[in-house]
């Protein structure tokens, strides 16, 4: 947990995979992941961001979309504050073939060593009005977060900026 010489740090090594997702009624989705971490954290090795292949629904495993996208990253830090979070965003085509967002989700990297399975509920922001909902459905430009990292942050959730969220179901990590 400590490195010689310089100031003491601890290392957190994360490896895992984005296994599969359950998006009933949706198909041909791909997912994007990135890590969000605090000021005292520095990634030392591995990929901070990544994007998966497009997965089609499998007949066997209860309509799961299997990505098996490996994650491997190592952080060093001096402070548990700002523990890394993985942020996932899933995209896929809508009825007209536009690429739209299908879900956002975030979860902290487990704080205990060992094998963990995390299931993330995914959600997307909703249009502010019914008319906008229609136009966005029609044009294929649905509301998205300016930065997917928002879902891992606490800021901007206070009064004034309340957005409706539409939950779509689970996701295995």
């Amino acid at each position: 947990m400590a490195a010689g010489g310089g100031p003491d740090v601890f290392l957190v090594s994360v490896s895992g995979e984005i296994e599969s997702g359950q998006f009933p009624g949706l198909d041909e989705l791909y997912c994007k992941f990135c890590f969000v971490y605090g000021q005292d954290w520095v990634p030392t090795a591995g990929l901070e961001e990544g994007i998966s292949q497009i997965a089609c629904r499998s007949d066997a495993a209860a309509a799961a979309l299997v990505w098996n996208l490996p994650l491997d990253i190592t952080f060093k830090s001096t402070n548990p504050w700002g523990w890394p979070q993985i942020v996932l965003s899933v995209y896929g085509p809508d009825v007209f073939g536009h690429d739209v967002v299908r879900g956002y989700g975030a979860v902290h990297v487990p704080i205990e060593p060992g094998r963990h399975i995390r299931t993330l509920p995914m959600f997307v922001p909703e249009s502010t009005s019914r008319l906008q909902k229609f136009t966005s459905w029609f044009t294929g430009r649905r509301p998205e977060f300016t930065d997917p990292r928002v879902v891992a942050q606490g800021e901007g959730r206070e009064g004034g900026t309340i957005f409706k969220l539409h939950f779509s179901p689970n996701f295995c990590l």
Partner: protein, 1548 residues
């Protein structure tokens, strides 16, 4: 043995070896061994037979000598002999020599003992083996044979050894001849064996051994002297159960302990060993696991459980497969009693009240708290008495001593409680009597009786004497206690008083001595001293008063009188009976008859609702005259659903028709233990807020009425009552309770736990039922003294006594202490924690601090030093860095303002709008949709070129090197040209007027001059150098005053800290410097002979001027395209401005309007960045939340106006409210007000208003420019008023513009403030004036003015105009000043804020009435001038470290003379004079130099300006320099600084 030399081998076999060489090895070995044996035998025999071993020795000697040819055996032998003395002890047979004492020392010839030993113990085998190996080489024989041989050899050897031992025996016997040096007598001592007699042994053992006896120790031994053991349990103290130890073992232990010193400490007051209570629980807390199968560990056993089908809702018991039959709930509704009903007569009301009070009385009597508390009080008093007496008798025990004050405290508390209870009793009794009396009087008054109630007061006579005695004793006790209490308090106070008095006295004494001294010295001042001293004098403490015992007595007696029965007074016991008779209706008045009839009409019934569904209802029963309804019905509910709620609804019907819901009440679902038959009838109260008014005697509900005749003392009663009912679970035919299975399971839980765990026994819901809890506590015989049960016992006592005593304190978060893992002080001391806190608070120094170290020790104190220093120096003005103390104050103040702005900004940064987080398409408007459709129908025109929009890049995913700044330098006009040194030009003074400017008249130079000039023209070879972020690029050198470069320069851009987010880019402070230079080639081939062979030139660059463009402007504008005025010093020595035209007349009209040089540029960023506007929007949002003193309506109007304007022209900024220095929103027009310029300026040119205006503009421009929001690029401007601005002497464009506008208004001009966009400032404020039907645009920060149609006007867009009473927003198609109409009266072009419909409300200005100017301090200015000059000279020398810097004083003094002149002419048209003058004075020098003019704020910028011109870079050896500084002071300390720098090279 093997180590021994082969000395001892007989020679025979060796001799015979050759002879037997052919024989097999075995044979040979046998032979050999045989030989060896025979030899040995023979030698033994020899030895034996020969009495003298000398011979043996000689024989051996011979042998060895014969065998070992040249070995010096003798020496070796001697050595051995010597050795032998050391190792003699090893030798076996030596022991026997002890006895041979008288033997003479050994001779050399004799074989020594060692020798002999060696001989006999010699290992022949090893020799044999050695042989063997030799043989092996010669004969290849199999190993088996060898092994066999070996075996043989071993057996032989053994035999030999046996022989040897035999021989030893022999040897010992006749070994008399051996002797030892040491004798046995020296070592050995003879002594008789020691023996202790057994008795002695026992005696000794007794001394330190102890066998504890098993007999019980008498208590007296365990206790201190003269003490009786106490029995704590009997005294009411908690002892706990002791762990079991067998009595005999306990006795042993006690005896053992008592043997020790201070052993008595081990025993408690009760004479038992101090012990903790038994920790062992009576029963298992973990349920035991029983194994069904043998051989399998119960923990590992698998159990089969039938799959359970989960039903959707568990409440439906029917759904489950194992339905166990119907469950039944019995609801018994016996009756209804109204405690108030609208039909109550007044008498009924009183009767109800009486009944209620009586009930209360009965309840109190049953509890009898007073007696209880009195008894307790007595007991406590006795206890105190006992302990005090006991303390006298024996040595006072500390515990007893301690408990006395506790007891006393308890006594006080109990007494207080007792008094309260007594008072309540007494008042209750009084109230009962009072109500009864009222009732009687009412009955008398109305002459009929409605209720059968009667109250009897039974008197119980008491023995007067006894009673009196008790009464007195009680009073005495109380008085004593009170006295004691007061005395304690008095003592405490007295102590305090003494301390205070002591302090006061010492102070007094000091005062006196001081006074005396002073008196001696100055008597006249005595009075004043006295007065001043009196003020500080501490108050003389007042001694506390001892309370008089008489007073106390009186107090106590009064108190007792008020609520205690007087002695001798009979005890009154009220009794309520219902035996009275009711007056029949015939005898009653009409109103009463009506009431009774009404009551008869009324009836009521109750609905039973189970899970909010009506399941049954009672029959309707009439309300009886005493307002009781009897139902007496039992409902058996067969239920399938789990009961969630059980509700009763009480209905009342009047007559036949109307039915009203009186009240709803909820019944608790019974516990599973409540079964039919055992369930008690409970009364549940209800009340309704129904309002009923009646026209007869009935008092009604919710209506106020009064008993008094005058209508006072009104009271309002609501319909209320009680329903007596019971709810229980039914019992089936076989006595099985019909309770749902969930509950049944619960009851089946191990009953063993019942006595241990309250929850297991009575269920969690039982915890809320105090009665059950109390019952359980009593049943399980909980030890009430056990601290573990303290909370429970308290709960029970509180709940059962009916009234909780509220403690004297309230504790918030009582567990907080436990969760604090570190004390607050420690936390505060932690550096790491502090660092984290500061970072979280976004303190400037730590805002972006990354990787806070893990350990405290890794954080150096240095981190905080800067921060602490800043905190300390926040209020300390350090004038060291500033030449002017005033400026230091201002700088400090501005720093604070800036900090507050930054803090606000940081707050705003954390405030997100929806659009910041979510990207959402806006709803397309109809227009856009229509346009889209129209576009589809548009014919395709492939040949029409279309501008492709560049791809915009969001700033997030960029990194270093991605962004480039493209600077395209196209051309320049009117660059100053070099002047021929010898040529003296006619001074042509030239000053423009407005007229000239606007009419664009051609200049007045004669063509003759023109031609002359062209002929003598010296080329200028200009080039442009662009520097940005320390990267420098230059163009090629062009020729002539109107060069055309058309070159693109590419400069990389690097964001601060690699942060490419938009707000980071917005705060980039870097500027793009575009410097114009002249490249001068000088021929330096000095010698004639060199000149022939080669050309040697020196390249010099002369700075001509520069243009500065801040990066943020480029960032916000995306591209900058235009012609800019080059900032050229007013005088460039050696250069002159081309005033008139050469060959190209095309630019005529353009150029002669201007007098500066211009450069055409195109700047952009590649790739295009999306300017982040979000911060500004957010900031505006935030700003709206700031305080304001403006009218709410005005603000709303402003918001609406802004919204309207920006919706039409989103790019045009509309400004209505701004923030003042104190952070409040202020309506913008309040800033505009005519103000007086300094009189001095007005007086300077009294006859020319235009020059005066220019002078005023110059004055304003001289106030240093200091953007208040450098870091946020105009996001949050703070507008200071003009007086604040003049006081601070620093401000940005808005302040300058406001002041200038106000001055113009003050001078009687028509002036407006323009909010617009200019290059290079970006969003800015200019001033518009109307001069002789022409509009002039003034740049307040330079003091220049431009005509409306001036193409070189830096103002590019006009957004709105602001006057002192209105705001006009530009709604014209274009916003360039050249293309718009400034006539604000046209509503189509300008949208005004205040119009006819909403007129100007006459807002008062926030500007002062008049500005007051302080004249500047001339002396200070002169001093400052000297200092600046010195500093600059030092700096120039510093910049030229490798060269000698010579100062030409003559030139300097000449330059110094020029400067005031320059100031006077405001830098216009004086250069020719300079040139001439210098030429005249200096003679043959090539002079290049220029004056720099700046408003003065600090020295730093001056130094920078001088440095940037690069004057010091000339490295011609003979160069000389000249530098002169002139500071001109304007009123209010506005300083104009001129620095004249020149380099001189002597011409040859």
């Amino acid at each position: 043995m093997a180590a021994a030399a082969p000395r001892g081998l007989p020679p025979v076999p060796s001799a015979s070896r050759t002879g037997f060489a052919e024989f097999s090895v075995r044979e040979r070995m046998r032979e050999k061994l045989k030989a060896a044996r025979s030899k040995a035998e023979s030698t033994f025999l020899q030895e034996d037979s020969s009495p003298r071993p000398r011979r043996l020795k000689s024989i051996r000697e011979k042998k060895t000598q014969g065998r070992l040819d040249k070995e010096s055996d003798k020496d070796e032998f001697r050595e051995m002999q010597e050795d032998e003395s050391h190792i003699s002890s090893k030798v076996k047979f030596r022991d026997s020599t002890k006895k041979a004492k008288q033997k003479p020392p050994i001779q050399n010839d004799f074989p020594s003992a060692e020798e002999a030993y060696k001989f006999f113990t010699f290992d022949f085998d090893s020799e044999a083996e050695r042989k063997k190996t030799g043989i092996k080489k010669r004969n290849e024989l199999n190993h088996e044979e060898e092994e066999a041989e070996e075996e043989d050899a071993e057996t032989h050897e053994e035999g030999q050894e046996e022989d040897e031992t035999d021989e030893d025996v022999h040897l010992v016997k006749d070994d008399d001849l051996f002797i030892l040096e040491q004798e046995a007598q020296d070592i050995l001592v003879e002594k008789p064996a020691e023996y202790e007699s057994y008795s002695e042994q026992l005696r000794k053992e007794k001394e330190f051994l102890f066998i504890p006896s098993m007999k019980a120790v008498p208590a007296s031994q365990k206790m201190p002297e003269n003490m009786q053991p106490r029995f704590l349990e009997d005294e009411g103290l908690y002892t706990g159960e002791r762990p079991f130890v067998s009595p005999s073992n306990l006795n042993i232990l006690e005896n053992r302990i008592l043997r020790q010193e201070r052993g008595k400490e081990w025993f408690g007051d009760d004479g038992k060993i101090l012990a903790l209570p038994n920790p062992i629980k009576q029963s298992l807390t973990r349920p035991p696991i029983f194994s069904l199968e043998e051989g399998i560990e119960p923990e590992l056993e698998t159990l089969y459980r039938k799959a359970i089908k989960v039903t959707a809702a568990n409440q439906y018991l029917v759904g489950s497969g194992d339905f166990q039959g119907p469950f039944q709930l019995d609801i018994d509704i016996s009756g209804l009693i109204f405690t108030h009903h609208p039909c109550f007569s007044r008498e009924h009301v009183l009767a109800a009240k009486l009944a209620q009070l009586y009930d209360q009385y009965l309840a109190r009597k049953q509890k009898n708290l007073t007696t209880l508390l009195t008894d307790k009080l007595h007991a406590l008093r006795n206890a105190v008495q006992c302990s005090i007496e006991g303390g006298d008798a024996a040595a006072p025990k500390p515990i007893a001593q301690q408990s006395i004050p506790e007891y006393k405290m308890e006594i006080r508390q109990t007494r207080r409680l007792r008094d309260a209870e007594q008072e309540k009793d007494r008042t209750l009794l009084k109230a009962i009597i009072k109500v009864w009396k009222e009732m009687k009087s009412l009955r008398d008054f109305q002459k009929f009786t409605n209720t059968p109630m009667k109250l009897y007061l039974r008197k119980e006579e008491v023995d007067q004497r006894l009673d009196e005695k008790a009464y007195e004793a009680e009073i005495q006790d109380e008085i004593n206690e009170l006295l004691e209490e007061y005395r304690e308090e008095y003592e405490k106070k007295m102590e305090e008083y003494k301390a205070e008095l002591q302090e006061w006295k010492s102070w007094k004494r000091a005062q006196k001595s001081k006074k005396k001294k002073k008196k001696k010295d100055l008597r006249e001042e005595e009075e004043s001293i006295d007065e001043s001293d009196l003020g500080e004098e501490p108050v003389k403490p007042v001694p506390p008063k001892m309370v008089n015992s008489l007073e106390i007595e009186q107090q106590v007696r009064e108190k007792v009188d008020s609520f205690r029965r007087k002695p001798g007074e009979p005890v009154l016991i009220p009794e309520l009976v219902l035996s009275g008779s009711i007056t029949p209706s015939e005898l009653c008045p009409r109103a009463e008859v009506l009431r009774r009839e009404d009551v008869k009409k009324r009836s009521s019934f109750i609905k039973v609702l189970f899970n909010s569904k009506e399941v049954s209802r009672t029959v309707t029963r009439p309300i009886s005259s005493d307002f009781r309804v009897h139902f007496g019905q039992i409902f058996n509910l067969q239920i399938f659903n789990w009961p969630e709620s059980l509700k009763l609804q009480i209905y009342e019907t009047t007559g036949i028709s109307s039915t009203t819901l009186l009240a709803e009440l909820f019944l608790p679902v019974p516990e599973t233990t409540v079964l039919t038959g055992s369930a008690p009838i409970e009364e549940i109260e209800f009340s309704s807020n129904q309002r009923v008014m009646l026209d007869h005697e009935g008092v009604g509900s919710g209506v106020s009425f009064s008993f008094e005749a005058d209508g006072s003392n009104k009271m309002t009663l609501m319909t209320s009552g009680k329903v007596s009912n019971s709810v229980s679970w039914a019992v089936g035919e076989k006595g099985v309770p019909l309770i749902p299975p969930v509950a049944q399971q619960n009851t089946g839980i191990a009953s063993a736990l019942k006595s241990i765990d309250a929850i297991a026994s009575i269920g969690t819901s039982g915890l809320t039922d105090m009665k059950k809890l109390a019952k359980w506590a009593a049943e399980t015989k909980l030890d009430p003294n056990d601290p573990n049960n303290a909370a429970l016992m308290q709960l029970i006592t509180v709940a059962t006594s009916g009234e909780a005593r509220v403690p004297d304190f309230f504790r918030l978060e009582q567990l907080q202490q436990e969760f604090n893992f570190v004390t607050d002080e420690e936390l505060d001391r932690s550096k790491r924690f502090r660092l984290l806190q500061l970072r979280n608070a976004e303190v400037a120094e730590f805002r972006n601090y990354k990787e806070v170290p893990l350990h405290e020790r890794e954080i150096s104190e240095k981190i905080f030093q800067d921060y602490e220093k800043r905190l300390r120096e926040r209020d300390v003005v350090d004038s060291k860095h500033y030449l002017d103390a005033r400026r230091a104050v201002v700088a400090n103040y501005l720093q604070k303002v800036r900090e507050s702005v930054i803090n606000r900004f940081l707050v705003a940064k954390h405030h997100f709008l929806l659009s910041d987080l979510v990207n959402e398409e806006e709803i397309p408007s109809l227009g856009i949709l229509g346009l889209g459709i129209f576009k589809l129908a548009e014919p395709k025109r492939p040949l029409k070129p279309r501008r492709k929009e560049r791809k915009k890049v969001t700033a997030q995913n960029l990194s270093d090197g991605d962004i480039k700044l493209l600077v395209n330098i196209i051309r320049a006009y009117d660059i100053p040209v070099r002047k021929a040194v010898s040529k003296l030009q006619q001074p042509s003074k030239h000053s423009r007027s407005f007229n000239e400017m606007f009419t664009a008249s051609p200049s007045a130079q004669s063509p003759g001059e023109n031609i002359d000039w062209v002929l003598n023209q010296v080329l200028v070879r200009p080039f442009v150098e662009v520097s940005f972020q320390r990267t420098v690029c230059r163009t090629t050198t062009a020729e002539g005053p109107n060069p055309n470069w058309n070159e693109e320069l590419e400069l990389p851009f690097r964001a601060p800290n690699g942060d490419y987010s938009s707000h980071s880019l917005q705060s980039v402070k870097d500027e793009v410097f575009i410097n114009l230079f002249d490249e001068v080639l000088y021929d330096v081939g000095e010698d004639d002979h060199e000149r022939g062979s080669g050309i040697h030139t020196r390249v010099e660059r002369h700075w001509l001027g520069c243009v500065k463009i801040p990066f943020t402007t480029i960032y916000f504008q995306a591209r900058i395209d235009g012609t800019f005025k080059v900032d050229i010093p007013p005088v460039l020595l050696g250069y002159s401005k081309e005033k008139n035209l050469g060959n190209d007349r095309g630019y005529d009209s353009v150029r002669n309007l201007s007098e500066g040089s211009y450069i055409t540029l195109f700047i952009t960023i590649e790739p295009q960045l999306i300017p982040g506007e979000s911060v500004r929007e957010k900031m505006n949002e935030m700003l709206k939340k700031f305080d304001t003193q403006e009218d709410e309506k005005l603000l709303q109007a402003a918001e609406k106006y802004e919204a309207e304007c920006t919706s039409k022209f989103p790019s045009r900024q509309c400004l209505t409210t701004v923030i003042d220095l104190s952070g409040k929103s202020v309506f913008i027009t309040r800033y505009i007000k005519p103000l007086n310029p300094p009189q001095e300026l007005l007086d300077a040119h009294p006859n020319s208003s235009q020059i005066t205006a220019e002078l005023v503009a110059r004055y304003v421009a001289l106030i240093p420019f200091l953007p208040d929001s450098v870091s946020f690029a105009g996001i949050c401007d703070l507008w200071s008023t003009s007086d604040q601005f003049l006081h601070l002497l620093a401000g940005d464009e808005e302040e300058h513009a406001v002041l200038l506008c106000n001055y113009f208004l003050g001078m009687g001009k028509k002036a407006w403030l323009i909010i617009g966009n200019a290059i290079p400032e970006g969003a800015t404020a200019y001033v518009l004036t109307l001069e002789q039907n022409q509009y002039a645009i003034w740049n307040p920060s330079t003091g220049c003015f431009y005509g409306q149609f001036d193409t070189f006007c830096p103002l590019k867009n006009v957004y709105c105009l602001i006057s002192c009473d209105n705001i006009w927003f530009n709604i014209q198609e274009y916003d360039s000043p050249v293309r718009i109409n400034f006539d604000t009266s046209k509503a189509k072009l300008w949208k005004s804020f205040f119009s006819r419909s909403s007129p100007y409300p006459g807002l008062s200005s926030i500007q002062p009435e008049e500005l007051i100017y302080q004249p500047s301090d001339k002396a200070a200015v002169v001093e400052l001038q000297g200092r600046i000059e010195k500093i600059l000279k030092e700096k120039i020398m510093e910049w030229r470290p490798r060269h000698l810097t010579r100062w030409n004083r003559y030139c300097t003094s000449t330059l110094r003379h020029f400067l005031p002149l320059l100031e006077q002419n405001r830098g216009k048209d004086v250069e020719d004079d300079h040139q001439a003058e210098l030429q005249k004075q200096l003679g043959d020098y090539r002079v290049s130099g220029f004056p720099i003019h700046m408003p003065f704020s600090e020295v730093g910028p001056l130094i920078e300006a001088v440095h940037s011109t690069g004057v010091h870079t000339i490295d011609i050896p003979s160069v000389e320099f000249a530098l002169a500084v002139y500071v001109h002071a304007y009123p209010q300390n506005v300083l104009s600084v001129w620095v004249y720098v020149a380099s001189l090279v002597r011409n040859r």
